[in-house]
């Protein structure tokens, strides 16, 4: 099985993950403020710690996750590796891919990236943070290979 080199997704994925984490900051900060006002600073320590954890995730975790996420296009397989604490390796056989969906939510559209979902007979596998041209190329590569 001749394999290509592992590739990273677009660097804009870091920004996307940061925005997703930043959304968590809103309820965490709200809870911290509410706890401070209602029960005092001692109780507010827990939601404040959560806020710090979210800020840490925004600053450090997003690039770490990006570094951990690689994909390798082989002749018959697609290999996706991801995860910081729990490492996950997903192998998608080309012949099992029934079709590929291309998705872009408003944030992804803003950042100019796309998510591919490989629909196989055993489940679905998603790969996010691809540049539109890479996504289109990969979609063309993985379609029309399935057997019934």
């Amino acid at each position: 099985m001749a394999c290509a080199v592992p590739q990273h997704c677009s660097g804009r994925l870091i920004a996307l993950i940061r925005v997703y984490f930043a959304f968590l900051l809103i309820p965490a900060a709200g809870a911290a403020a509410g706890a401070w006002l209602m029960w005092g600073p001692v109780v507010a320590v827990i939601p404040a710690a959560l806020c710090v954890a979210v800020v840490w995730a925004v600053v450090f975790l997003a690039p770490m996750y990006y570094e951990s996420l690689t994909y390798t296009r082989c002749r018959d397989w697609l290999k996706i590796e991801r995860g910081i604490i729990c490492r996950q390796i997903v192998l998608v056989p080309r012949r099992q891919v029934q079709y590929v969906t291309l998705r872009a939510n408003p944030l992804e559209k803003l950042l100019g990236i796309r998510t591919l979902t490989f629909m196989t007979s055993g489940g679905r596998v998603s790969l996010g943070g691809l540049m539109p041209e890479d996504a289109a190329r990969m979609r063309a590569l993985f379609e029309n290979c399935a057997v019934i």
């Binding site: 029934q98 079709y99 969906t101 998705r103 872009a104 408003p106 007979s121 055993g122 379609e143 019934i148």
Partner: protein, 469 residues
């Protein structure tokens, strides 16, 4: 290739859920609103509600406008999504089933829903399109051509009723009725569920006097659930017909919503004959197909037919190679595995109950009723096990493997085509190992359930599994 929009009736589908949510609270309030003096808070609330309903309608229009499809050379394309854009396309040779769904609203507006499925694991159809009736029929004919019309099977209402009566599950009926009651409660009357429950309990007490009121209500709810599911199954399988063509099967069914399912023969992985105890008493069985891409849903081929007729129907739809099969059956020790554990549990329960009833004070009537219901269920399971033990076998033919076993309370015989077997194996518990017995299980491609045959001699089971490779 030109992009097309769906039929305008798709708007109803996109907007129905949200519109109902926003408009339904207004229906009971309308008479109050019209007859009351002016109130700024109520007027404001009404305006907000109406604006939300208008927003829901606008959202439905946007969804409809953004959802487009196209048919290219042997390929289907679909784009959808207002905020999040989705694009998908697949080759038409990937299609494993096509379903045309004609509901009463669609019949009035001249539209049909076309559900297209592939082998991909998807909760609903991979592509669902609401199209004008003639275009949908043309498209379905183009995607799966039906040539060389062969034998057609038509199920009578009696067959459908027997299937519904023997297979109906009270839990499904209750699950069906709960959301309806909750919705009605929100619209009509908040005391509706308790009033309904009370009336059902009274009805049960009239039939079975002497029952405690709580048990009467529970048994009435179970009976109502069973009846509702019976009616639902009867309506969805009324007018069932199945026709075999050269390379596809066409199954039509349904009284209120008419469904035409077209399945290419290459997508069928297994054919299963099911027989419950009630069907056994009537000498009938039903036949279902496992179609790739349909998940846990199985397609009904024959709702219920006498054994001989069923064999003839099956032979005409899926002919089997006539060579003599290799058969593995459980011996007498293996046959006992189907019912012994249940019989021992049942006997222990009866002994315990008898001892308790001899003691001072006896058994409370509610416990007695529950114990009797549990004993009846166990007895039903023992009888089903005894029936399955006589039939259990694994038969290996040239082109397929036939396995008979017990699934729940139903004896199933599944004929799986050898190239379409996803998983086959042997399981041995410590007790089985000591007895030299094992359980063989086989799962067809596209099915989520395995069918197993217990109590087989290990050496012969290993031999048959080796031959399956």
């Amino acid at each position: 290739m030109s992009w097309r929009r769906q039929h305008a009736s798709a708007l109803l589908q996109y907007g129905s859920g949200m519109l109902f949510a926003f408009i339904s609270p207004l229906i009971p309030l309308l008479p109050v609103i019209l007859s009351r003096p002016r109130d700024i808070i109520l007027d404001g609330a009404l305006a907000v509600q109406l604006m939300l309903a208008a927003g829901a309608a606008l959202w439905a229009v946007l969804c409809w406008r953004k959802s487009v499809w196209a048919a290219g050379f042997e390929r289907l394309y679909k784009k959808s999504g207002v905020l999040t854009a989705h694009e998908l396309s697949f080759d038409t040779h990937m299609i494993t089933s096509l379903e045309l769904e004609r509901g009463p609203v669609g019949a009035m507006l001249g539209s049909v829903r076309l559900n297209i499925r592939t082998r991909a694991v998807c909760r609903r159809a991979d592509i669902s399109l609401t199209l004008p009736r003639d275009r949908a029929a043309r498209m379905a004919g183009g995607l799966i051509p039906l040539k060389g019309g062969g034998k057609k099977y038509r199920a009578g209402m009696r067959s459908v009723a027997i299937m519904a009566a023997s297979g109906s599950n009270a839990a499904s009926g209750i699950l069906l009725i709960i959301p309806v009651i909750l919705k009605l409660r929100r619209i009509i009357d908040s005391a509706l569920p308790s009033r309904l429950l009370g009336e059902l309990g009274d009805a049960a007490l009239a039939v079975l006097p002497g029952l405690p009121p709580a048990l009467a209500a529970i048994s009435a709810v179970i009976a109502a659930g069973w009846l509702i599911n019976f009616i639902r199954v009867c309506l969805s399988y009324a007018g069932h017909t199945a026709a075999r063509f050269d390379s596809a099967l066409l199954i039509d069914r349904g009284a209120v919503v008419r469904r035409s399912l077209c399945v290419p023969l290459r997508a069928v992985s297994a054919v299963t004959t099911r027989q419950t105890l009630l069907m056994r008493l009537l000498g009938r069985s039903s036949c279902w197909m496992v179609v790739q891409g349909m998940g846990s849903e199985e397609c009904c081929l024959v709702p219920s037919a006498p054994g001989r007729k069923m064999r003839l129907e099956l032979a005409s739809v899926f002919p089997r190679q006539s060579q003599s099969p290799i058969i593995v059956k459980p011996d007498s020790a293996g046959r006992r595995k189907y019912y012994t554990a249940w019989a021992v549990t049942c006997a222990a329960g009866i002994i315990l109950w008898a001892r308790l009833s001899l003691e001072k004070g006896g058994v409370p009537p509610a416990v007695g009723t529950l114990a009797a219901a549990a004993a009846a269920l166990m007895l039903w399971r023992i009888l089903a096990g005894a029936l399955a033990s006589r039939r259990a076998a694994v038969k290996l033919y040239g082109d397929c493997v036939e396995i008979t076993g017990l699934r729940g309370l139903t004896v199933c015989t599944s004929r799986m085509f050898r190239g379409k077997i996803a998983q086959a194996g042997i399981v041995q518990s410590p007790i089985s190992r000591a007895q030299g017995l094992c359980t063989v299980y086989i799962r067809a491609r596209g099915s989520k359930k395995t069918l197993s045959c217990k109590g087989l001699p290990i050496d012969r089971a290993k031999n048959i599994i080796e031959r399956l490779r």
